[in-house]
């Protein structure tokens, strides 16, 4: 029975890690007053570029590096229109998400030579702790990116609360005019966090395609970026509550899988994470009262 529990915890971690990384990016943007709804497209791009660079170099870590670098670059598509030109962030995000869907599917055919799903025995995935010869409880079957995610959340929490740039970032997010009057470079901070969110989504996408599995398939982000957006709302842009929200989603997905094994139709398992996320949002919003949530969004 204890093995069953460990397996379940492991499944929760697998399911939540990409979401945690993306949500952390969304959280930083939120703290700086940027509404980042383009997490979905960036996670997808991260997954694709991770597989692409792993395929090209034969090294999973170079795949991760490629994902981080190119997804950061991809985030320019969001940061330049919204921060520099003040375009509507929601509209731009819709475009950026759609573009990622088309671009990954298109480039997949051009560069990996297949459509639908790409996988190959030669494609290197991320090593697990077990493969690295490290005997870590629970984390055995997980990649090193899995424990990295909560560490990054902790680092972000400390950074926001205790450092000079963290304080300034919070100030910028809450009252940009005030920050401007102090001579703070509002645009620079905002570009910074949007690109940072890109890097985190790249990391999340790489974990999804090279850690959770070792393949790329069209649209494989499958709404995780949107769940991350909701997690940021649920957690009120505070790091630890956001992490908890992501774990809730991971648990829902893991539970869906588990119940599918017990005869629940696959469609119910597909729907479960979204229904549970939405219910959590409703409960949290009802508890918190309508004002605060609107403020946080």
């Amino acid at each position: 029975m204890s093995v069953f529990d460990v397996a379940f915890v492991s499944a929760v971690l697998t399911a939540s890690t990409p979401v945690v990384l993306a949500a952390l990016g969304g959280l930083l943007c939120q703290a700086a007053g940027v509404f980042n709804m383009a997490l979905e497209g960036q996670v997808l791009w991260g997954a694709f570029s991770g597989v692409l660079f792993s395929h090209l170099t034969g090294n999973a870590w170079l795949g991760v590096a490629g994902a981080v670098v190119t997804t950061t670059a991809y985030a320019l598509l969001l940061s330049v229109p919204t921060v520099a030109f003040r375009a509507d962030p929601v509209v731009v995000a819709v475009g950026v998400n759609l573009l990622a869907l088309g671009l990954t599917a298109f480039l997949m055919r051009g560069l990996l030579g297949v459509g639908g799903t790409y996988t190959s025995p030669e494609l290197r995935g991320l090593p697990t702790f077990a493969r690295l010869g490290l005997d870590v409880p629970v984390l055995g079957p997980q990649s090193p990116l899995v424990p990295l995610a909560p560490l990054l959340v902790a680092a972000a929490a400390w950074w926001l609360a205790r450092t000079r740039s963290g304080l300034r970032l919070r100030g910028i997010g809450r009252h940009p005019e005030a920050a401007l009057s102090l001579g703070l470079k509002v645009g620079r901070y905002r570009h910074g966090v949007v690109l940072g969110a890109g890097a985190l989504c790249g990391l999340g996408g790489a974990q999804l395609a090279l850690g959770n599995v070792t393949l790329f398939s069209e649209g494989m982000s499958a709404g995780r970026g949107w769940v991350a957006v909701v997690a940021v709302m649920l957690g009120g842009a505070r790091p630890w509550p956001v992490l908890a929200s992501c774990l809730l989603f991971g648990a829902a997905e893991a539970l869906g899988f588990r119940l599918q094994g017990l005869g629940l139709p696959q469609q119910a398992a597909d729907a479960a994470p979204y229904v549970i996320t939405l219910l959590a949002l409703v409960v949290a919003a009802a508890a918190r009262g309508r004002r605060r949530l609107l403020e946080a969004s």
Binding site: T163, R164, R174, H175, A178
Partner: protein, 549 residues
């Protein structure tokens, strides 16, 4: 050598010249007032001095050295500090965080909160600017927030402190305190630039005065050697024609008087204000003889209460009445509950307790069709900036008759003509209109319907002089035609000129009711701070009827 000197500053916005070759020099240790009417170019000039706008021509000298001004950061580095009219504070952060942000003390990259707090306390002691360093700014009263703004500038070693209309948000008592602080600041050798349109303050607190009009300097004075009359001439370009005036005929842009005329003569900063003479404004009316206005109230507000979560109730048991044919003013420091009260009177918000009756029937929730309402927030509430003028003039009437685009535009054209709104076309987005014209459009929409109750908030805020007079005339006209007008304004001269009696709110209650001709600055000021409430309510009209809030 002047501490700071502006040389030949010219700043254009499109085809509008806001500053036209302005020279200004401020000596070390002086309080230098910059005065002018709304729109004279004061705010633009200060924005240039503080690096928020780059001038099209001219430059800024600091101790004789030319400053490169690309952003406020350069101004701060040059020893300038600014307290904006709208505070630039972070409500969620503490006083200390607000003071140090942007110039934080750190130890190995980590914020040194102890050192920051100690410095804030030290500066507070030094200048008499007391504020709890760990309190969240959002929870503090306005006067304390302003102290935080000043602390912020002083923490950055500001040697030139610019204050933009600092007393607009203060009670007379708080204002007096502020000027004491400013004296301490200049006593330490720093300079203060005081931007204001209140001449009383200028005469009482400044050392020298520079007057702006239409973007140019029209006068430089040493305060001790000048008079209010002289300043007014420089501000409005003509001398005052004394004596009573009459409501200007409809359709004329009457330019021969302005609210500032009245203000110039009546506002006195600290001293006991002399009661203003009757009938001085274009719209003030001889008070009715006792016994004439005994008709029943059209609007009856009974024991209204809005509960405020954890804090005190924003509206805490308010009762009053307004009759047909009278203007009742509401005064009070911003945030005393006026906004909540008027939201309830107009039906936009439900009270937690009490009720509002209009002609004996409760006010309808959502928006009562018997109420005309001119809100303070012109861009956020009174208009949809991106919609056309015609569409903005329609709101509230769209269900009245069969909807037709031609009729909508025709109606708009009629209103444009009748109310003297200047616009190229009724299809123009309303955001393209000047503040005064947009406000006239709002008034046109609300007043053209002949509704019995008219609720008006800050009718002349951000509006040029010509439009101000027109707006005052329109309100007086609505009153004379039998409308019941409830007027909330932070401009005391405006209230005195228009209202028949003035209710003063403080902490959600009506603490005083004064006939306009008894509403001196001193009495209003005392009531607005909650002091001497009982004294102020004595012998007022409401009281004699036993109907005070």
């Amino acid at each position: 050598m002047p501490a700071v000197e502006l040389v030949g500053i010219t700043k254009r916005f499109g085809d509008v010249v806001a500053n036209d070759g302005i020279d200004l020099s401020v000596e070390a240790g002086e309080i230098h007032a910059v005065v002018g009417e709304n729109g004279a170019g004061k705010s633009t000039l200060m924005s240039v001095m503080y690096g928020m706008h780059q001038p099209d021509a001219g430059h800024v000298l600091r101790d004789g050295v030319r400053l490169r001004m690309r952003s406020p950061a350069d101004a701060i580095a040059g020893g300038l500090g600014m307290v904006h009219q709208r505070f630039r504070l972070f409500p969620e952060l503490t006083v200390t965080e607000n003071v140090v942000i942007g110039a934080e003390p750190t130890r190995r990259g980590v914020l040194d909160t102890v050192a920051a707090r100690r410095e804030v306390e030290r500066l507070g002691e030094l200048y008499g600017l007391r504020a709890d360093p760990v309190a969240r700014v959002g929870t503090l009263p306005v006067g304390v927030r302003q102290r935080v703004e000043i602390l912020k500038a002083l923490y950055r070693d500001a040697r030139v402190l610019i204050l933009d209309e600092p007393t607009a948000v203060l009670t007379p008592g708080e204002a007096a305190q502020l000027f004491e602080v400013l004296r301490t600041v200049t006593g330490n050798g720093a300079s203060v630039v005081l931007v204001t349109h209140k001449l009383g303050e200028v005469l009482a607190a400044s050392d020298r005065v520079t007057v702006l009009r239409h973007g140019r300097v029209t006068g430089r004075f040493t305060t001790a050697e000048t008079t209010a009359e002289e300043l007014v001439v420089a501000m409005i370009g003509r001398s005052l024609a004394p004596g009573p005036r009459h409501t200007p005929p409809r359709g004329h842009e009457a330019r021969h008087t302005s609210p500032h005329d009245r203000e110039a003569r009546h506002s006195s900063p600290n001293g006991p204000g002399s009661p203003p003479p009757h009938g001085d404004g274009p719209t003030a009316r001889e008070p009715d003889a006792p016994g004439v206005t005994r008709e029943p109230y059209l609007l009856e507000v009974e024991n209204l209460r809005v509960l405020g979560g954890e804090g005190p109730a924003p509206v805490d048991g308010v009762s009053f009445g307004v009759r047909r044919g009278e203007i009742v003013g509401i005064a009070g420091v911003a945030g005393s509950g006026q906004r909540e009260l008027l939201d309830i009177v107009t039906g936009l918000r439900a009270p937690d307790e009490g009720r509002v009756l209009l002609a004996g029937h409760p006010v309808r929730r959502g928006r009562d069709p018997r109420v005309a309402y001119v809100p303070e927030d012109r861009h956020g509430r009174a208009t949809a900036p991106t919609m056309s003028l015609a569409d903005n003039l329609l709101m509230g009437e769209q269900r009245g008759s069969r909807f037709s685009r031609a009729a909508v535009r025709e109606r708009a054209r009629t209103l444009v003509k009748r109310f003297g709104i200047r616009t190229a076309s009724v299809d123009e987005p309303i955001s393209g209109l000047s503040g005064g014209n947009a406000q006239k459009a709002v008034l046109a929409r609300e007043l053209s319907r002949g509704r019995p109750l008219i609720v008006v908030e800050e009718p002349t805020q951000g509006v040029d002089v010509g439009a101000q007079e027109r707006i005052h005339a329109l309100l007086a006209e609505a009153r004379d035609e039998g409308g019941a007008v409830l007027l909330q304004s932070s401009e005391l001269p405006e209230l005195r000129a228009l209202a028949d009696r003035i209710l003063v709110m403080f902490e959600g209650r009506i603490v005083a009711e004064l006939p306009s001709d008894e509403a001196s600055d001193a009495r209003l000021g005392a009531a607005m701070t909650g002091a001497a409430a009982g004294d102020a309510t004595a012998d007022t009209e409401g009281n004699t009827e036993g109907d005070t809030g």
